[in-house]
């Protein structure tokens, strides 16, 4: 199982510093990917944690919403890890796809490219590949179907339990 947890206890900032990266980048330790502010972490089951970290970056490059935190992108891509655990072909598709991204990016890999434009240029080249199609096709549902994210878009979701909008602004437009 791929697990996502919040406020992972135990790892102090000092420990994290000892282990390597800190700052804007995602932290990789053991099988886990941890957010720089340690607000959440994700335990990978089948894919390499580096691969998960790249998938999170890739997900943001595909659907960039700057005020949406990484956690939502992590939740959106975790299905690939879960699926890879029971599906060797999927595991290969994702690992090879990420390896290809790193190769195209050159030294430092895909996550090492500082400018979104440079990463997106690579993505435009691989847009038609089964890897990109699989990631984007899954992401359009796994990302936008997160209820916790809907307020970001100003979408209110379920309305039956609140009696619909008949008394809650279905015709409240004033600026016309």
């Amino acid at each position: 199982m791929t697990t996502i947890y919040e406020q992972r206890p135990g790892l102090s900032r000092r420990e994290l510093l000892k282990r390597g990266t800190i700052g804007a980048a995602l932290i990789i330790t053991g099988k886990a990917v941890i957010s720089p502010d340690r607000a959440w972490g994700m335990e990978a089951a089948a894919l390499k944690p580096e691969t998960m970290a790249t998938l999170i970056k890739l997900a943001r490059d595909i659907y960039p919403h700057d005020s949406v935190p990484d956690r939502f992108y992590a939740i959106a891509v975790k299905g690939h890890d879960t699926k890879a655990a029971g599906d060797a072909a999927h595991k290969e598709l994702i690992e090879a796809g990420v390896a290809d991204l790193d190769k195209r990016a050159g030294a430092g890999g895909y996550r090492g490219l500082g400018w979104e434009d440079d990463r997106v240029a690579i993505l435009r080249d691989i847009e038609a590949t089964p890897f990109f199609q699989a990631v984007r096709g899954d992401l359009v549902v796994s990302f936008y179907n997160q209820k916790e994210l809907w307020p970001h878009f100003g979408y209110e979701g379920e309305s039956y339990s609140k009696g619909g909008y008949i008394a809650r602004g279905f015709d409240d437009i004033e600026w016309l």
Binding site: Y144, L149, F153, Y155, G164, I166, G169, D171, D172
Partner: protein
Amino acid sequence: MAAPYDLNDDSVVVIIGSGAGGGTLGNELAQKGIDVVVLEAGARIEYEDFINDEWDSFAQLAWLDHRTTGGGWRVSKDFPNLPAWIVKAVGGTTTHWAGASLRFQEHEFKALTNYGKVEGANLLDWPLTLAELEPYYTKAEDKMGVTRTHGIEGLPGNNNFKILKAGADKLGYKECHTGRMAINSAERDDRMSCQQTGFCFQGCKWGAKWSTLYTEIPKGEATGKLEVRPNSHVIRIEHDADGKVTNVVYADKDGNLQSQKARIVCVAGNSIESPRLLLNSASNLFPDGLANSSGQVGKNYMRHTTGSVYAVFEKPVHFYRGTTMAGIVQDEARHDPSRGFVGGYELETLALGVPFMAAFLDPGGWGRAFTSAMDNYANMAGLWIVGEDMPQESNAVKLHAELKDKYGMPIPDVWFTDHANDVAMRNHAYRQGQAIYEAVGATRSFPTPPYPSTHNLGTNRMSEKASDGVVNKWGQTHDIKNLFVSDGSQFTTGAAENPTLTIVTLAIRQADYIAQEMAAGTI
């Protein structure tokens, strides 16, 4: 309550499918005292159990059996296994539908005569006139409680409608209003009024919107003459040596095959499954499939010329609040070839939630051009184009050469390519839609491509002559007297209007004919 009929009872009328066509026909026949068994592939899900959530509702109600698609349309690339968005449940697609209920215009029944020969199109006149259908349209509108007919008040306009109306006014359009909708604007027929919930496409949890699930079907059942058998997937229709149909073979809820005898069989599985069933029922006597002496079964697949226009404004709209289809512009529905195409189109408001907007705004789209649009979701308005598309023989529901379903029957392969007339019409409609929104200050607008087909028509078309089509003016197949088609696949041409009111109208009329012929002993 509903009398369960014996599998060997050969006096019953068997209807395949419980949607707009089948559900209505079942009730109408039962009201006349005729014994009816409706076989429905899907489950019975009552409206309290509908879900206000786009993907969850889709999983609950949509027809998800394996299908393939090909041809030049973009849907075949973006949604290779979802050519159509239709329902598998008691009530059929009337659970999902938006409720827009418009009569066809007189000239649309005579498309070949009025449009003339259109290169590449297989146009034909209906063997019917508006005048013949008018009394039945009246009955259908009354049954469905269509607003703005019979003194029923229109629905109030939501924010999405107000924007459409303001833009339409600026462009000088004259026929813009909140539509003729089969949605209660006040309590009627023991159903409550619309609460502006905004999930019409997910099934109306209030029952305010007409659906055969909670109108026709329970009314028919109350007569004791109608049995609806859910989870009963018909795979074949069989006949005797004289070529009369005798029984249908279906898979029950456990996947076991059963055979239900019948005096008459009416096919109402929507325009993909109905022709598939006729083709899959091929026999020694009918090697090309049932009722297919014309070779037209599965051909002339139509899906309306559609598309959407979404637009972003500086300030909030919240267009997802309230009825999904909250208003209409009808000025472009006329036939006026000076616009560069024959036939016409309607513009109807439409709203999607965030999950569906992401999937359908620009299928396959990504990057900042896409996400900056999504970031403005709350400031969006939207409309849907529905126009007459050209019947073409090569647009067809075919049997897949290799792939089979779990009962061993070939799956449907749906082929569609736009006709040049469809493209010209869509481009015109995109321009008009974008102009409406720009007239009221849209900062950006999106000509969004068609979704998987919600209107599926024409694959068992009605014709005067047996050589031109599959059924006669009563929906009775030209070849087999006791085999009828009772859904939108009967449509000779598509007209500019949403189809369901006409499907219901034809079903009411067909019930009269079947009762009359049964009484006369001709079937």
